[in-house]
Subunit: 352 residues, 2 copies
């Protein structure tokens, strides 16, 4: 078993260190770790945010543990050299088409949400975002029209097989939860969405035990404010998923606790190839100060153990240790506490 | 002066009646009203949601007062016959490119928001949404690819003049408010957004008194939950504006109170040609029961008086009457009150 560890920029290296501390305590036999540069760090050292060695390491691994990318010193670079391109590049090169973003309220942390506690308390949803298609990877450019005007354009599309494979992931996830799936689109305006909806309905025939509903994206953005507790599993395209999953995370209030998995098609000996990262960013403002909360990173490791290495028991152990640490009052500054990065990592490790 | 009144579907006719009651009390000299069918109602009577007579009436008017469209009995129709197409058709035919959606917390109604009162209380923003371009009106279809797979696609684009005219509207709106403008895009992924950002920056040179910032749409969706009070004027494209303006409305909690204006390029003798509608929908579940809150419709009329007829004093009178009615405890069921449609209309009319 091999994990590629890409710490990245900003607080990435600090939170990665704590995840590796936890992994160390688990002492998983036959586990090999590789390390490589990514993001602004990689650009500064190698001239590219996703150097070929980094990609090769990921391709030779069963899973990628990813810190964060984002570096203000790269803001003026051409787009293809900016840190975020590394994550887009990895999604494409590894065919990571299914982004799983659970958003669940942690008991006792309701006060961190901007939503009223009685609304926030109900949040327990999973957003399944398609990650390889849509307007993200279509033909795009800024061009000059024959009449001399500049125009920016992006081609949005989904083909039926792209919708089908993400729909299956979502239906299966719903089977493992409350058996309700809400597919979000904009079928009243977009043909891409109409095809999306048609295919999701076709796939639903294979999952008679899951209750499927459809919602327009504008309404979904409203319902996520009004009553996020109404959602169980939500499946949507790349662009809408980008927006709604961030909105849902913020509804929980504690983004320092939220993990994500990006799964591919490739099955390894142990599970599904995937990339795991906290949903928060590289937080350059607090980088290097030992202040970042590593819990989302540690919970991303738990997802990795579950989905890519087939180590469900170990994953549950890690999650329980984080929950216990929280219950014991171990909180980072983002949760209103005063524990530093290493102290939180130690606290989780000692509770395994 | 001529107003085209399109009551539409569901609760449309009921709330329109109350707006007209208010207009009647104002007794504006030389004002002519026309009425026409739109939406599902128009489809059932004339076979099309936007019949030529309706469009002709609008084109011959200084403003359009619009109730709501949406009719579940039309769900199975081909897309171009569905009620919502009427509103898309009007936006295009009348070149209504600037959608103004104010979202402001009404004092004393903080408890209706799902956000904590101290967060909700801060909301006082205006979303300026471009309404004639983007992925809404580009080439689109479902086609069969050479390899036999079905694909849905939509062409997303903005040309510089389209961005420039909406940017001017937004900067001018900011000048009349707190002089801060946040432009929302996804320039880290979309070339359409990159052109948008470039042009907004170019236009900003003409408005040195307005502080311009840029935000990615995923972050904007988060910030609208975390701290909506940070926004003054937000300008964004058609698709992101659809999502964010609905999200912002729901943050206020009382969508039965929120009005919107869709302004065109055409200047009439009195003001700017525009269409005015409440942001809530046709609410077929309560249609015909006298339960709908007409306040958003009445406030849409106020916007019409201001922007299209140049009657600022009358607009302010209507808004003050609504505020007074609310302060006097006149509330629809949506605000936790028990007043019916006509009673609310009467209450506002009597306070003019
Ligand atoms: C950095 C950016 C390209 C990326 C996206 O839009 O997918 C990010 O927002 C995310 O959600 O992972
Ligand atoms: C009905 C629909 C086509 C429309 C839109 O997407 O613009 C609506 O959601 C709106 O915001 O006015």
């Amino acid at each position: 078993m091999k994990i590629a560890c890409l710490a990245g920029d900003g607080i990435g290296p600090e939170i990665m260190a704590e995840a590796l501390k936890v992994l160390d305590v688990l002492a998983i036999e036959g586990l090999e770790l590789g390390h490589a540069d990514v993001g602004g760090t990689a650009y500064h050292k190698h001239g590219h945010p996703l150097p070929p060695e980094t990609l090769a390491l990921c391709q030779a691994s069963d899973a990628v543990l990813f810190g964060a990318v984002g570096d203000p010193t790269c803001d003026a670079l051409e787009r293809h050299l900016r840190p975020e391109q590394a994550i887009l590049g990895l999604r494409q090169a590894l065919t990571l088409f299914a982004n799983l973003r659970p958003a669940t309220m942690f008991a006792g942390l309701e006060d961190l949400s901007a939503l009223r506690p009685e609304v926030a308390r109900q949040i327990d949803l999973l957003i399944v975002r398609e990650l390889n298609g849509d307007v993200y990877f279509g033909e795009k450019a800024i061009r000059t029209l024959p009449d001399g005007r500049r125009q920016g354009y992006d081609f949005m599309s989904y083909a039926e097989d792209e919708v089908r494979r993400i729909a299956h992931v979502a239906f299966r996830a719903a089977q493992g939860r409350k058996k309700t799936l809400c597919s979000v689109d904009k079928a009243n305006v977009l043909e891409t969405s109409q095809l999306w909806r048609d295919v999701v309905i076709e796939v639903s025939a294979e999952y008679p035990d899951v209750a499927l509903s459809h919602m327009y994206v504008d309404n979904a953005a409203m319902q996520l404010v009004r009553n996020p507790g109404q959602f169980d599993v939500v499946v949507t395209g790349n662009l809408f998923g980008d927006i709604l999953s961030d909105q849902a995370s913020m509804c929980v209030g504690s983004i320092g606790l939220l993990a994500s998995a990006s799964l591919g098609e490739k099955q390894t000996q142990y599970g599904t190839l995937g990339l795991y990262e906290p949903i928060h960013g590289s937080a350059p403002d607090i980088a290097g100060q030992g202040k970042a909360n590593p819990m989302a990173m540690i919970l991303s490791l738990a997802m990795l153990l579950r989905h890519s290495l087939g180590l469900e028991a170990q994953a549950a152990r890690v999650e329980a240790a984080v929950a216990q640490a929280l219950a014991d009052g171990i909180k980072g500054a983002d949760l209103g506490g005063s524990h530093g990065t290493a102290a939180i990592g130690d606290a989780v490790a000692s509770r395994l």
